[in-house]
Symmetry: C2
């Protein structure tokens, strides 16, 4: 196994760790029930560039809303979505970091209300429809094939060694759930993520436009405890938002470094503090360029 990992220190660290915790009567043995592994999703299990896959899902929804309701066409973010002006979305975030929330406020409101007042099953249907057709804008592959092949292989390797894998992502819980089984072999009950509030009415669960969970940064350990109730012994992330999850986890900590602009994307923005922390804390840094024999499945 781990054929999509190049031989070297990173692969050796993973294999060594797994051998130690699974060696019965060894000093580092961990019983199977406590072999909990947690994985960030965006940038850790699947590609997050040039934009989050969920953002593409949302922008397509905004464009559809502008078609359905012409009064939205002159309002942001619907206007930008309808016109395919992706730059507007990036600039809204840039302005936010410069202290100007004039664009990010209507964007957040639009995100929260994009799938308002439908049942969780209807929402899952929209997600399925998106992944059936939508393609990555530059990689020339469907989004459903944008999972990192070595990481999926790692999930199987851990499973084969008695681990239970969870996703703990800042991405939408109910955006990921319909497809994590197909992509990663991870069932819905093991997907932790952000969500709007739900309401029970007429025997069904409906979405609202109220924020409920934002699974990022220091909320990641809180939310993983809420869902799992155990301290992970294996954790993988790639960004500043994963620092606390990696700190809370014990055992092996992986931080993916995106340094391969030929096969994927090279970037450190948003991961500066995580990379610094990894060096200080002895986390294992995975170099996409060096460590992965293949990035995606064929």
């Amino acid at each position: 196994m781990l054929d999509n990992w190049n031989d070297g220190a990173t692969k050796a660290a993973v294999v060594d760790f797994v051998q130690r915790v699974t060696t019965e009567r060894g000093p580092d043995f961990v019983e199977p029930a406590s072999r909990i592994a947690v994985f960030d999703n965006d940038g850790t299990l699947w590609c997050e560039k040039p934009m989050y896959i969920q953002l593409d899902f949302l922008i397509r929804r905004f464009a559809q809303q502008a078609v359905d309701d012409p009064s939205l066409r002159e309002l942001q973010p619907y206007k930008a979505a309808a016109e395919g002006d992706l730059r507007w979305f990036g600039e809204a975030v840039t302005k936010h970091y410069q202290g100007d929330d004039s664009d990010v406020k209507p964007l957040v409101a639009a995100v929260l209300s994009a799938h308002e007042a439908i049942t969780v099953d209807e929402h899952a249907g929209r997600v399925h429809a998106f992944f059936r057709d939508a393609k990555h804008p530059t990689l020339g592959r469907h989004y459903r094939s944008c999972g990192y092949r070595p990481m999926i292989e790692l999930l199987r390797y851990l499973e084969a060694n008695g681990f239970t894998n969870y996703i703990v992502s800042g991405g939408g819980r109910d955006f990921m759930r319909p497809i994590t089984g197909m992509l990663y072999g991870i069932p819905p009950e093991r997907v932790v993520g952000s969500s709007v509030g739900l309401i029970f009415r007429d025997g069904a669960l409906f979405t609202t436009a109220q924020p409920e969970f934002l699974d990022d940064g220091p909320m990641k350990p809180v939310r993983l405890w809420s869902r799992i109730g155990r301290r992970p012994i294996f954790a993988a992330g790639n960004s500043n938002g994963d620092i606390e999850m990696l700190e809370y986890s014990q055992g092996l900590r992986l931080l993916i470094r995106h340094d391969d602009d030929e096969r994927e994307f090279a970037y450190v923005a948003g991961a500066e503090r995580a990379l610094e922390r990894a060096a200080g804390a002895g986390w294992t840094v995975v170099s996409v360029k060096r460590d992965w024999a293949n990035v995606f499945a064929d």
Copy 2:
């Protein structure tokens, strides 16, 4: 199996349902991954009379807080706890339902702050210490032996038929988790319940005095979706707080009716609407007196 259930319509309904959903190529077959069963805890899996087991845990904590901090001794609920005045707690709730929150307000504040600012591991230690020693006030058995034997047997029966069991309780998530493995064979990741907020600090998770989840009534389906992401096909409850969970679930719905004051307790208070709803919706009512050959393990 199901030896602790008397032969009759209730047991037959359970066995028939399980046979139908597990019969491959049958019209009602359900794949194992979707065989989700949810169980309320208080009054469904273990005894909730004369008071919630968690309330006893809390009252003992209040009494200890009054010992540690004499300034609390003249304040409620610490005074009542220190003096063993259990009636005060019942009356606080009665007054609440009569529109007078003068006692219930300090009680709720005391509940929320009872285990404030300790790590989740320290909290689990307090729970373990409680269950090691604490006894039920009238049944003459340890609280850890107050689980209903037929229900525990039912959990095993469902498991043996490919079901995955969850607890979905209004009780405290982190109060139940340390002992549900021992009592019910249900691991922490499958315990859904109420909780205070947690905060991540210095590499650890600490309790706060802020309410976070209250898993009761219409929140039960919301919270079980949040945690499981699947619609249950088997649900069991006993009170008005379980109505929405039973409504949201499909397949077999059990409502425990506590009608045996010889072997346990007979009461309908707090279950009036649930019993009415069960009759109208065709839920299967379990009579403790009629259906259970034994109530507790020896």
